[in-house]
């Protein structure tokens, strides 16, 4: 049988309404053969974790441009793990200063993509890392 499509949740946590970037990612992943669920803007970590659980996604992508990533990204990772989603890959992007990348990775974010990342790089990263054994 044909390969089952991988499922990705794209989420916009916090009080940042700028979702052009998130939509570009959604579109690129759709065109790369992923099933993409988009939460829309202004989501709490609890909402994102609940959506990831109910949608049984392989990865969660977070987009944030407000500067609150050091608070929100680790909180979301924590909520996901608490919901039992131990293997879900977490990646993020937005306006993330270089010096924040290492602490975010330490907090459980698998990969941070900075501005200007080619879409193909994100697609190949996901194709390489997924599916994790579930």
């Amino acid at each position: 049988m044909d390969k089952k499509p991988l499922r990705i949740l794209i989420a916009k946590p916090g009080l940042d309404g700028h979702d052009r970037g998130a939509k570009v990612i959604v579109r690129a992943l759709r065109d790369a053969g992923f099933e993409v669920i988009y939460t829309g803007i202004r989501q709490t970590p609890e909402m994102i974790a609940a959506a990831a659980l109910q949608e049984d996604v392989d990865a969660v992508g977070l987009s944030l441009l407000s500067g609150a990533h050091m608070t929100l990204f680790p909180e979301i990772v924590k909520r996901l793990r608490k919901a039992g989603l131990r293997d879900v890959l977490v990646f993020g992007g937005g306006i993330i200063p270089d010096e924040d990348v290492a602490p975010l990775e330490k907090a459980g974010v698998d990969r941070v993509f900075g501005p200007g990342t080619p879409l193909s790089e994100i697609v190949s990263y996901l194709n390489e890392k997924l599916p994790v054994a579930r």
Binding site: G33, E35, I37, G40, T44, A51, G84, R134
Partner: protein, 315 residues
């Protein structure tokens, strides 16, 4: 601890209302995993006890937002709700943008609501191959109401009538006159019609047009209908008319139970589910036998699609 995809463990947890287990069970069923059959066999036992609403209508009519409003109403009545929202898969990439969920994120953290987005995965008609299996998971989860929202295809999504007990056809004031409403297709299978965005200009006329088209009378040979499909006017944005719509949906469910029509519909649903199963399995088995050699024969015109097809089906 049992393995995460262990069917008997999943079945036990789903029956206890565990969302994580339901979510995984849905994946296995929708992906037609090896474990899916064991799950579906068990979950089928609890099929057909609660009302399944099928929400259909053209894209952008407000199906998802209206579903969100109905969820709020059911929650106030103390009912749990399970929702399946189908959006189209790309025929080019196989990918999909499942964008219904974001309309009802206000229910995201409510433990009494379970929402799952599904991709149509190549099936036309507004649904997905595994829709019955997915519904059975939600039935086993103990949901008090189940909502299935179709791809917004509009005119031709009659499959929903073989899945849902109550078909809710959602349209808007900008959808044309009564001639549009007289066309065959989804208009024939609606049990309750909704003019959403009725606060926009033309709302009253749209309701009148729909009522007019529905009230054209019976054609020769048609039996009188015990349920005449009503037309509701709503604004999913403000919530106006939602309570009235909810009461119509409840009334239809009561009608189904009292008249025996519900039993008939359940029989039709199960027949369609069987049909889907046979279709999937016979088709898959035959397609798996298509190899390069048989295609070469076809290209050399040594055989033809019908003869080859018969051979592959028999093999």
């Amino acid at each position: 601890m049992p393995a995460k995809n262990d069917p008997s463990d999943l079945i036990r947890r789903v029956r206890k209302g565990d969302h994580a287990a339901a979510s995984r069970a849905l994946s296995l069923v929708v992906d037609e995993d090896a474990a899916a059959e064991a799950l579906s066999k068990e979950f089928f036992k609890s099929a057909g006890t609660v009302q399944k609403l099928g929400v259909c209508g053209p894209p952008g009519a407000g199906k998802s937002t209206l579903t969100g409003r109905l969820i709020s109403r059911y929650r106030k009545l103390g009912l749990t709700v399970g929702v399946l929202m189908v959006d189209p898969s790309s025929s080019l990439s196989g990918g999909a943008f499942l964008g219904d969920r974001l309309r009802i994120m206000e229910h995201a953290t409510d433990p009494g609501v379970f929402i799952r987005s599904l991709a149509s995965r190549g099936m036309v008609g507004g649904l997905t191959h595994a829709i019955f299996g997915a519904v059975h998971v939600l039935e086993a989860l103990g949901c008090g109401k189940i909502v299935v929202e179709t791809v917004g295809t509009g005119q031709d999504e009659v499959d929903i009538a073989s899945v849902a007990d109550t078909v809710v056809y959602v349209t808007t004031p900008a959808m044309g006159d009564e001639i549009q409403a007289m066309k065959a297709g989804a208009m024939e299978v609606g049990d309750v019609f909704v003019v959403n965005k009725a606060d926009l200009a033309g709302g009253d006329k749209a309701v009148a047009d729909l009522k007019g088209a529905l009230g054209l009378g019976r054609s020769a040979g048609q039996a009188p209908r015990a349920w005449e499909p009503p037309v509701a006017a709503t604004s999913a944005l403000t919530g106006a008319g939602v309570e009235e719509l909810g009461r119509l949906l409840d009334a239809h469910w009561e009608h189904l139970k009292a008249s025996g029509e519900g039993r008939e519909r359940l029989k039709r649903q199960h027949a369609t589910e069987l049909q889907f199963w046979i279709h999937r399995h016979v088709l898959r088995r035959a397609l798996e036998r298509v190899d390069g050699k048989s295609l070469d024969e076809l290209l050399a015109h040594k055989t033809d699609p019908a003869s080859l097809g018969r051979r592959l089906l028999k093999a």
